[in-house]
């Protein structure tokens, strides 16, 4: 009787025992395979001279062109601008939008009035359910030259001339970050509030008896206790860094709020891929450009996971 056979039998037995649970896992795996892994076959298009008239099989039968489209993108006059904007907007969002839900969650958890806490929490996460199209419309009414903000600032003599928030290239990054924080902060706060709810109250009570003030308890108990959650969310956010971090809003923002006046700072790789791929029908080129972004994202997430494992012991895999 070989050892392998015994192990296989045990494995099968365990599988049988977990049958109903396994079904859930397999549904998830099939979903991932069909919608995430299978489409990756199309990446080969980025290395081929593919034209849409060749149909689906043309992806495999069209002529191999190697790195032609990758070189074209790197040599494109728009390359520098696209990469700069993509990185800058993404990093700014990571710096400002990632810590905000944590700070907000801590502040909410420290509130004494439960009713007020619930009201604030509800108001803060409601914008998450508004689509970016609506947010763009709202922001137009608020920030246009004759919008509410300009009217208010000019009438109160805080400004002499209205500011063109929506068409000033120097203000686009700030607008993108601000709107992102407004829309998504409340939603991600829920995750961190859940983590804070799991912190042992006895720790707080003991620290209070020992004379620790509120800030010290936050620093030494609350924050260390939610560290694993923070790290996991951070890794996920970095994995989607170029998509806009936690909210994944880079594309929608750039597409809806970008215009010819602010394109110097609002054009990003994702909108470029969309324009080139769908508007111009250059699927092969768009695939190559998209692949470059995906590879950079993968490198980032692997590095982040590695660093996180070394420093905090928490990691995704």
């Amino acid at each position: 009787m070989s050892k392998g056979k015994v192990t296989g039998c045990k494995y099968f037995h365990a599988l049988k025992k977990q049958f109903s649970l396994q079904i859930f896992v397999w549904v998830g795996l099939i979903y991932l395979f069909v919608f995430s892994y299978l489409p990756m076959v199309g990446l080969v298009m980025g290395f081929k001279d593919y034209d849409i008239v060749d149909g689906v099989w043309g992806i495999f039968t069209s002529e191999w062109v190697g790195l032609k489209y990758f070189k074209e993108f790197v040599n494109d006059v728009m390359f520098e601008r696209l990469v700069r904007n993509t990185i800058a907007i993404s990093v700014l969002k990571m710096i400002f939008t990632f810590p905000m839900p944590i700070i907000f969650a801590v502040m909410l958890s420290e509130m004494r009035s439960l009713k007020y806490k619930k009201l604030v929490q509800t108001c803060s996460y409601l914008p998450h359910f508004i689509s970016w199209v609506v947010v763009a419309g709202i922001s137009f009414h608020f920030f246009s030259l004759k919008g509410i903000i300009n009217t208010l600032l000019v009438n109160t003599r805080l400004l002499q001339e209205p500011i063109s928030y929506l068409s000033d290239k120097d203000l686009y990054w700030a607008m993108a970050v601000f709107l992102d924080v407004w829309k998504e902060m409340g939603w991600w706060t829920i995750v961190f509030l859940a983590a804070i709810a799991g912190v042992n109250h006895e720790l707080h009570e003991a620290a209070a008896i020992d004379g620790a003030g509120r800030l010290k308890r936050i620093w030494h108990i609350t924050l260390p206790s939610i560290k694993p959650t923070v790290v996991i969310v951070l890794i996920l956010a970095i994995g989607n860094l170029f998509g806009g971090g936690l909210s994944g809003s880079n594309f929608e923002q750039s597409y809806l709020l970008g215009n010819s006046m602010n394109s110097e700072t609002s054009d990003i790789i994702q909108t470029y891929v969309y324009e080139v791929g769908l508007s111009q029908g250059r699927y092969a080129y768009a695939t190559a450009v998209g692949l470059i972004q995906s590879v950079i994202s993968l490198i980032l997430i692997l590095n982040c996971n590695f660093i996180s494992k070394k420093i905090s012991g928490s990691s995704l895999f």
Binding site: D51, V53, V77, M78, L145, S260, M261, Q280, G281, Y283
Partner: protein, 524 residues
């Protein structure tokens, strides 16, 4: 054990119930189909073949195949249309790539991609297989359509074309082109200063700036932006020297820099506003003018465009009035590259190609195209001896109220000539307006070969052209709104370098050669 039995029992009941529901639906469906069939047989005299049509223009003003002209088309062809309007520029690209094209596609883009036997029926096929007939169609229209395909066949015929002879013999009106509309009531307040030259126009802008400080003198929102000023200064998208055969892309044309400098001056002096300029949506752009935010507004020369704008302005401010600025250029109007702008395709997925052939046979006939623009002969118009339609009072009233689309609905004429459209808009119209339109005819020459020579989107030159247009959009905004002369100069140098790097010379050379080929196709 009991639980297991109960679970099994409930599962069986659930499966049986679902099965019965499905059977019941299927039965209901089949009985409905039978009923429909009966209705069709009973009313066979009025039986309509319905085709799905996708209109690839998000701005299209109607999504219903209803009105006097659609009724005429239905009566003549027995074809009804179920209309879907595009919601974005990318939608058709996605439909092509997914192979989910509807019966008919009426589009002003992707023409070269759809001119392919894999996606669409060629018009010759419709003639051979489904009895279509396009006898009234001119050779030039067919030659233009053939230039979009690689197999020498034609898959559509572009509308709004006209031969050089047609243009020369045109009795009234002018070709559609960028223009400027303005608030004539405000000009009255200013004492109606004369605007005969570009210098006059600049002076009036300054006057507007000081007299109406809450308004932007020149609104550039929407599609047309600085094109009228460019045309007046002799800078158009295509510069073609008929004598030498040389072609220049707009930004490489002589006079382009001066034109941008003037626009920059407008911005620095506060005549134009960046936020308005940034607005590329046609409807939103016009809204500024409707709301009384600007005195002058860049738009399109068309009678219907004018009446719609005037009515909208007056709906906000009944005391306001709108007029069209006459052509103020020193030379003639810029050359045209008019080779039509949209066409109807019959996709390979078409559920009833025979009905599509019937529809197109009618629409491409002289009778069909005139009915498609002018309505019912003898009721809505009679043809004058000079070939110009004389419209009924009812038609003219509807037209003057800007309700042609709502009442007549000429938008489902998939083929018409540029002259048909001009006559529809202007024949019997206000003489003052006709005189203004006449100023836009000065020295007009049309070169359809310029449009025919343009490279297909998938070719290297096609890619270069797309990139040049992208650069234009971005850099022109920077040039026009440069904060100082130094910034203007550095941006201009940067733009020219970017153009060169993108392949401007290659594109100009390609066009110069390709125009020669296109002229051969046109028999020139």
């Amino acid at each position: 054990m009991k639980k297991r039995i109960l679970a099994t029992f409930l599962s069986i009941i659930m499966v049986v119930t679902m099965g019965l529901t499905a059977c019941s639906d299927a039965k209901g469906e089949s009985s409905r189909t039978e009923d429909d069939g009966k209705e069709n047989t009973e009313g066979s005299e009025t039986k309509m073949d319905t085709l799905e049509v996708f209109i690839n223009m998000s701005w299209y003003p109607t999504d219903k195949f209803e009105g006097i002209i659609p009724n005429l088309i239905k009566e003549a062809t027995g074809v009804d249309l179920n209309v879907t309007i595009a919601t974005s520029n990318e939608q058709l690209g996605v439909m092509i790539s997914s192979g989910e094209l509807p019966d008919l596609i009426y589009t002003d883009s992707e023409i070269d991609r759809l001119s392919n036997s894999k996606f669409c029926y060629s018009y010759s096929e419709l003639e051979e297989l489904y009895g279509a007939s396009f006898e009234d169609l001119g050779d030039e229209a067919i030659a233009i359509a053939k230039s979009y395909s690689e197999d020498g066949d034609y898959y559509t015929v572009l509308n709004a074309t006209a031969t050089s002879d047609d243009w020369e013999n045109m009795k009234l009106g002018a070709v559609g082109q960028p223009t400027i509309m303005y608030r004539s009531d405000l000009m009255d307040e200013l004492g109606n200063p004369k605007i005969n030259t570009l210098e006059d126009f600049v002076e009036v802008l300054e006057l507007c700036k000081t007299t109406f400080p809450d308004m932007v003198p020149f609104g550039l929102g929407g599609v047309y932006k600085s094109q009228y000023i460019k045309n007046v200064m002799g800078v158009t998208n295509n510069i073609y020297d008929g004598a030498t055969g040389e072609y220049y892309y707009e930004a490489s044309a002589p006079g382009y820099k001066e034109c941008m400098q003037l626009m920059n001056e407008f911005a620095l002096k506060g005549y134009i506003e960046a936020e308005y300029y940034a607005n590329e949506n046609d409807g939103d752009g016009k809204q500024y003018f409707y709301n009384g935010d600007c005195v002058f507004f860049a738009d399109y020369l068309g009678y219907n465009d004018y009446t719609v704008i005037r009515n909208n302005v007056q709906s906000v401010n009944p005391a306001a009035d709108v007029a069209i600025l006459p052509w103020i250029g020193e030379g003639g109007v810029p050359m045209g590259s008019n080779a039509g702008w949209a066409g109807c395709f019959v996709s390979r997925n078409c559920s009833n190609p025979e009905a599509a052939a019937r529809l197109l046979t009618y629409q491409l006939s002289n009778e069909g195209r005139q009915a498609g623009m002018w309505g019912r002969e003898g009721i809505d118009y009679t043809l004058g001896d000079d070939g110009v339609p004389i419209f009924s009072e009812e038609f003219k009233e509807v037209r003057d109220n800007g309700e042609l689309v709502e009442v007549y609905n000429y938008r489902f004429s998939f083929y018409f000539t540029a002259i048909d459209e001009i006559y529809m808009n202007l024949s019997g119209g206000n003489q003052e307006i006709l005189d203004i339109f006449a100023t836009y005819r000065k020295g007009y020459q049309n070169y359809p070969e310029l449009a025919m020579a343009r490279p297909a989107a998938s070719t290297d030159e096609g890619v270069i052209y797309t990139k040049l247009e992208e650069l234009k959009k971005s850099y022109e905004a920077k040039l026009i709104f440069a904060a100082s002369e130094t910034e203007f100069e550095s941006t201009y140098a940067e733009y020219m370098e970017a153009l060169e790097q993108t392949g401007l010379q290659q594109y100009n050379d390609y066009m110069t050669t390709s125009i020669v080929e296109a002229r051969k196709l046109l028999g020139k």
